[in-house]
C-alpha cells in the first residue's frame, strides 16, 4: 500500500507561511527582545526551519515510520541487542505526569515517590549483580563502562598503585576498549581460544603488576558462558587487579548466577536491553553500574539513601570520581526497568533467562544441520553462526543472508560481529518469542540458503530501497539537506 504521501524531506515539503504549533499572544506588558536587548545579541539570520502544517507533519512522520522494521511488527533476532518485547504498560506508566514532569533539581522532599522507585532500583540491581553498591547515573552501557573504569582508576590512585593496563578479550564489544582509552588506560587484547573462551595462556602471559582491570563479557559475545570464570577472576585478583563484567548479556543469567558471585568487582547493566527499554532506533539507554564494597566510595554522586527523614540524594561523597553527566540518570529507562522487575519478580526474572536460553538453544538446534555453527551445539541466550562455508561454496555472505531475511519480514541477525568469527551471524531470539516464530524463522533461513546466489546478492527485493551505496556515503558525506 502506497504510504509515501508527504514523505519528501521536510525541507522539500515546507511551504511558506504554513504553521503547525501556534503560540499564544503575549499577555505581559513588556517590550520585545529587539527593544530590550543590545543588537549585538540578536540574530540576523533566520533559522530556515521548515514550515509545515499539522496534517503534513503527521503524514510525514507516520508514513516514514512504516519504512522501519521494529519489534512490534517483526521478529528481530539482533544478537547482543536483546530485542525483547517492550511491554505497553511501561509506556502508559512512564508517561504519567507525576513521573515525567518531575524536574531534576526539585528538592528531595518534593519527589519522594520518584526517589523511592530509584532507591529500590539501586537495591534490585545490587542484588541481581551480587554486588554492594550501585550508581544509576550512566546514560548507557558505554558510559557505564567508562564510569566503572574511572572508579577503578580512582581506587588505585587512592591505594597509590600505578596500574595502567586494561585487558580485553578480542571478542569484546568495541565500547570496552574505547571506554578504557578515555579512562586513560592502555588496552591489551586477550585472544579467544578455539572454543571461543578466554585463552588462558594468553591471559596469564599478559597479567602483570600494571594490570588494573580485566574486562570480560560473560556470557561472551559468542553466547558462551566461560566456565573458566572463577579461575580467571582469581588470577586477576591475585595480581591485584579488578574484574569488570560487561553486563550486556545479563539476560542469560538473571537469578541463575551473579557476577559478584563469580568474581566480578564491577559491572554495568544495559537496562534498555536486559530490562526492556524501548530502543527508539538508537536510544536512549541506561547503563547503571554495580561495584564491590571497596569501590563504593568512588562511585559518582549522588546516590540515593534512605533516612528516617525520607529518601535523600547523597552528595557527601568525598572520594567520588564526580559525575559523568548532568542530573540523576536516564530515569525514563530506569523506570521501565523498575516496572519490568516488579512485574516479573524473582521467579519471573529467572524464567526470563531460562526461556531466553531455551529459545536460543532451540533455534540453534533447528539450524545446526544447515548452517555452520563454530562453537558447538549449546549456547546461552544467543549464538553465532557463520556463513564462511557458504561463502566459499556458493559466494553467499552473511550480509546476503541478512538482507534476504528482510524480504521475509525478519530483521537480520547481527552480522560481522563478533570479529573473531568470519562471516558471523549472531542470533539472539530472546525469551519473548514463541516456538512458532522460531520454527518459521529457521525454515526461512534454511530456504534462503538454497536460493540463487545472484538473487541473494541483490537482496532485499521488496523493501523501500535496495542496498545503499555506503562507499559513496562515506566518501562525499552529505550529512544535511541544503537548498
Amino acid at each position: 500500500m502506497d504510504k509515501s504521501q508527504s514523505t519528501g524531506l521536510l525541507f522539500e515539503i515546507s511551504h511558506k507561511d504554513r504553521r503547525c504549533h501556534l503560540l499564544p499572544d503575549c499577555d505581559v506588558p513588556i517590550k520585545s527582545s529587539s527593544e530590550l536587548l543590545d543588537k549585538k545579541y540578536l540574530s540576523n539570520q533566520s533559522t530556515g526551519l521548515p514550515e509545515i502544517a499539522e496534517i503534513d507533519l503527521i503524514r510525514h512522520f507516520i508514513n516514514l515510520s512504516t519504512k522501519n522494521m521494529a519489534i512490534d511488527c517483526n521478529f528481530y533476532p539482533l544478537g547482543s541487542c536483546t530485542m525483547k518485547y517492550n511491554p505497553k504498560r511501561h509506556e502508559r506508566l512512564g508517561s504519567l505526569g507525576g513521573l515525567s514532569n518531575v524536574h531534576p533539581l526539585q528538592d528531595d522532599k518534593t519527589c519522594q515517590g520518584m526517589l523511592e522507585i530509584l532507591w529500590e532500583m539501586q537495591n534490585y540491581l545490587g542484588e541481581i549483580a551480587g554486588l554492594d553498591g550501585v550508581s544509576l547515573q550512566p546514560a548507557a552501557g558505554a558510559q557505564g563502562e567508562l564510569t566503572a573504569l574511572l572508579v577503578a582508576a580512582a581506587y588505585f590512585k587512592d591505594k597509590k598503585e600505578h596500574r595502567t593496563k586494561v585487558l580485553i578479550p578480542d571478542s569484546a564489544h568495541g565500547t570496552n576498549p574505547a571506554s578504557a582509552a578515555i579512562a586513560g588506560f592502555d588496552t591489551i587484547t586477550i585472544k579467544s581460544n578455539a572454543n571461543g573462551r578466554v585463552d588462558m595462556e594468553d591471559l596469564i602471559s599478559k597479567i602483570d603488576d600494571k594490570t588494573a582491570v580485566f574486562m570480560i563479557t560473560n556470557p561472551n559475545t559468542l553466547g558462551l558462558f566461560d566456565e573458566q570464570i572463577v579461575k580467571i577472576t582469581d588470577l586477576i585478583h591475585k595480581a591485584g587487579g579488578l574484574v569488570y563484567l560487561d553486563g550486556a548479556n545479563m539476560n542469560a543469567i538473571l537469578g541463575i548466577t551473579r557476577p559478584g558471585d563469580f568474581g566480578a568487582d564491577m559491572m554495568h547493566y544495559n537496562v534498555h536491553k536486559t530490562f526492556t527499554g524501548p530502543h527508539g532506533a538508537g536510544g536512549p539507554g541506561s547503563g547503571p553500574i554495580a561495584v564491590r564494597k571497596q569501590l563504593i566510595p568512588f562511585l559518582p554522586a549522588p546516590i540515593i539513601i534512605k533516612t528516617t527523614d525520607g529518601f535523600k540524594l547523597d552528595y557527601d561523597r568525598p572520594k567520588s570520581i564526580g559525575r559523568v553527566r548532568s542530573f540523576f540518570g536516564n530515569v525514563g529507562i530506569l523506570l521501565r526497568g523498575y516496572f519490568y522487575i516488579r512485574t516479573l519478580g524473582p521467579d519471573g526474572l529467572k524464567q526470563v533467562s531460562e526461556n531466553a536460553v531455551l529459545n536460543a538453544n532451540y533455534l540453534l538446534s533447528l539450524l545446526k544441520d544447515s548452517f555452520d555453527i563454530p562453537h558447538g551445539d549449546r549456547c546461552m541466550h544467543e549464538f553465532v553462526a557463520s556463513a564462511r562455508n557458504l561463502r566459499k561454496e556458493k559466494k553467499i555472505s552473511a550480509m546476503d543472508i541478512g538482507k534476504r531475511l528482510l524480504d521475509y519480514g525478519y530483521h537480520a541477525p547481527t552480522v560481522y560481529f563478533p570479529l573473531v568469527v568470519s562471516e558471523a551471524m549472531m542470533m539472539e531470539p530472546t525469551e519473548t518469542e514463541s516456538k512458532e516464530t522460531l520454527d518459521s524463522f529457521a525454515a526461512t533461513l534454511i530456504k534462503i540458503r538454497d536460493e540463487d546466489a545472484e538473487f541473494l546478492h541483490n537482496a532485499p527485493h521488496s523493501l523501500d530501497i535496495s542496498r545503499p551505496d555506503e562507499v559513496r556515503a562515506a566518501k562525499e558525506p552529505v550529512l544535511r539537506w541544503k537548498k
Partner: protein
C-alpha cells in the same frame, strides 16, 4: 507470565529437539559453585492492575510540574510539548526499532535523523551536526575530546565559571586521567572576565568553553570571546540554549567551532533528569572527528535517494580504542522528538516561543525586584532565566512556596555556599500573567514574613 511464551508443552518439545533433559541442563556450563541456590531477593511479581496502582501512588507522591507551577531551570525546563510529538514518538515502528544498522529496513528513522541533523544545523547556523549524544554534560566532554584531536593540543581546557556546575563536573571527570588540565576562567560579574580569559589563553589551550546564556541566565560576550580564542588558535566551544536561538545570535554567527546543547527543551519531558538529548554541531572540517552516529545521504542500487549510517570508521565498533568516542547507544528517540518539535514550531513558532520566554521572564524579574530587599544579582542582559539576590536565605523562600504549589527556583547555595541568598528563576512560554502575578505576590509575602521574623528575632535578642 505474559512476556514468556513457552508453555510447559512447548518446553517439552523444545528440549527434545535440543536433546537436553531439562532447562537446567542448558546451564551446565556455569560452575555449580557460582550458581544461585536461592531466589533473588526482590519483591514478588505484580500484575498490571497491581503495578498500575503501585506506580499511581508513587507518582502522586511527587509534586510534579503537572500539579505545581514550575520555575526551575538550570538545564531542564518546563516548556510546552505539542501533542504531535508524543503521537509520532509513540509509533511502534520508531519506538521499538534498534539502531538503523540495516538501512533498507530503517529508512523511516534514517530520514528522520537526517532531518534532525539538518534542523540542528539550521538552528545553530553550524555546518554539520551529529545524530545525538547523551546530554549536555557529557557532550561537553566529547567536544573537548574532539578539540584535542583537532588542535593536537592537550595542555589546558579553559572554562567559564558560569558554565553549569554539573557540566563542568562531568567533563572534568571524563578528563581525570587524560592530559589536559581544566582551568576556570573567572566570572566575577556574572559573565566571563575577558581579561582573565586573555591572561590564561596560550598555545597549550585546546579549547575555551562558554555557556550562553550561562548558568545564571546571563548572556556572555560570545563575539569578543570568539575573537580572543581564535587569535590563539584554540577552538571555541559553546553550550547554547536551543530555544534562545529563536532570537539570539546563533553559534555559527559568532564563529563557534563546536556548539553543544541540552536538547531537553525541544519537546522532551523533564522526567527527573533523563533521558535527555545531547546536541553537537561543528564546522565541516571536523567531520571525521565527530563523536557518535552520523546519518548520510546516498543512493541505492537503483539510484534512489536513501540514507545510511555513515563514517562509521570513527566509531568504537570499528575503531575500538582509537574511536572518536566510546558512545554506542545514543538518544535516537529524543532526536526524533526534537525533529518533530522543531518541524512543529517552525521558524516563526521558535521565535515566538523565545520571545514569550524572554518577555515573561523580564516581566517577572521586574515584579520580583519591586519586593523590598529583592534585587537583580547581576545587571546583565538575560534570556529566560535570571538570578536575584534576596534579603534572606533563598531556600527558605523555596520551601515556603512549595505550600502554594510553586517550585520557585534554584538556590545557588547548592553549588556555591557563598550564595545562600541567591536564587535563579526560569520562565517558559507556558507561564501566564496571572501565574506570574500570583508567584510574585506569594514570593513577596514569603520574603516579608521572613524579614519580619528575622526582625522580631533581632528585636527579641
Amino acid at each position: 507470565m505474559s512476556y514468556l511464551l513457552n508453555t510447559p508443552d512447548d518446553k517439552v518439545d523444545m528440549l527434545k529437539k535440543i536433546g537436553a533433559t531439562s532447562i537446567d541442563d542448558l546451564f551446565s556450563n556455569i560452575p555449580d559453585s557460582v550458581r544461585m541456590k536461592r531466589l533473588l531477593d526482590i519483591p514478588k511479581s505484580l500484575t498490571e492492575i497491581e503495578l498500575t496502582r503501585h506506580i499511581d501512588l508513587l507518582a502522586n507522591a511527587n509534586l510534579s510540574a503537572e500539579r505545581s507551577v514550575c520555575y526551575l531551570g538550570g538545564g531542564s525546563y518546563d516548556h510546552f510539548i505539542p501533542a504531535v510529538v508524543d503521537t509520532v514518538s509513540s509509533r511502534s515502528e520508531f519506538y521499538t526499532a534498534y539502531t538503523p544498522y540495516q538501512a533498507e529496513a530503517s529508512q523511516g528513522s534514517l530520514q528522520a535523523f537526517f532531518e534532525f541533523q539538518t534542523m540542528i544545523s539550521q538552528l545553530t547556523a553550524m555546518d554539520i551536526s551529529n545524530s545525538s549524544l547523551y546530554e549536555a554534560g557529557s557532550s561537553l566532554a566529547e567536544a573537548i575530546l574532539m578539540a584535542m584531536a583537532i588542535t593536537g593540543r592537550s595542555g589546558t581546557v579553559l572554562v567559564a565559571e558560569t558554565v553549569h556546575p554539573e557540566y563542568r563536573l562531568s567533563f572534568t571527570t571524563y578528563l581525570a586521567n587524560l592530559e589536559p588540565k581544566v582551568v576556570t576562567v573567572a566570572c566575577p560579574g556574572g559573565k566571563m572576565c575577558l581579561n582573565d580569559l586573555a591572561s590564561k589563553l596560550d598555545d597549550s589551550v585546546c579549547c575555551v568553553i562558554v555557556q550562553h546564556p550561562n548558568f545564571f541566565g546571563n548572556l556572555e560576550e560570545v563575539e569578543e570571546i570568539s575573537k580572543l580564542v581564535h587569535a590563539k588558535g584554540a577552538l571555541f566551544v559553546v553550550a547554547y540554549d536551543p530555544i534562545s536561538l529563536g532570537i539570539l545570535k546563533k553559534p555559527g554567527e559568532y564563529d563557534a567551532d563546536i556548539a553543544i546543547a541540552e536538547g531537553q527543551c525541544l519537546g522532551n519531558p523533564m522526567i527527573y533528569g533523563g533521558p535527555y538529548l545531547g546536541l553537537l554541531s561543528c564546522k565541516e572540517a571536523f567531520v571525521r572527528k565527530i563523536p557518535g552516529r552520523l546519518v548520510g545521504q546516498t543512493v541505492d542500487r537503483n539510484g534512489k535517494r536513501c540514507w545510511v549510517l555513515t563514517l562509521q570508521t570513527r566509531e568504537q565498533h570499528i575503531r575500538r580504542e582509537k574511536a572518536t568516542s566510546n558512545i554506542c547507544t545514543n538518544q535516537g528517540l529524543f532526536a526524533l522528538r526534537a525533529a518533530v518539535y522543531l518541524a512543529a514550531v517552525g521558524p516563526k513558532g521558535l521565535t515566538e516561543t523565545a520571545e514569550l520566554c524572554f518577555r515573561k521572564a523580564h516581566y517577572l524579574m521586574d515584579l520580583l525586584c519591586k519586593i523590598p530587599g529583592v534585587k537583580p544579582k547581576f545587571n546583565l542582559p538575560f534570556f529566560k532565566e535570571f538570578t536575584i539576590e534576596l534579603p534572606c536565605n533563598a531556600q527558605l523562600i523555596i520551601d515556603s512556596l512549595v505550600d502554594d504549589g510553586i517550585l520557585a527556583g534554584l538556590s545557588q547555595a547548592r553549588w556555591n555556599p557563598n550564595l545562600v541568598n541567591v536564587m535563579t528563576i526560569a520562565v517558559t512560554e507556558k507561564r501566564t500573567r496571572s501565574e506570574l502575578d500570583n508567584y510574585a505576590a506569594a514570593f513577596g509575602a514569603a520574603v516579608n514574613s521572613f524579614i519580619a521574623h528575622d526582625k522580631s528575632k533581632a528585636f527579641k535578642s
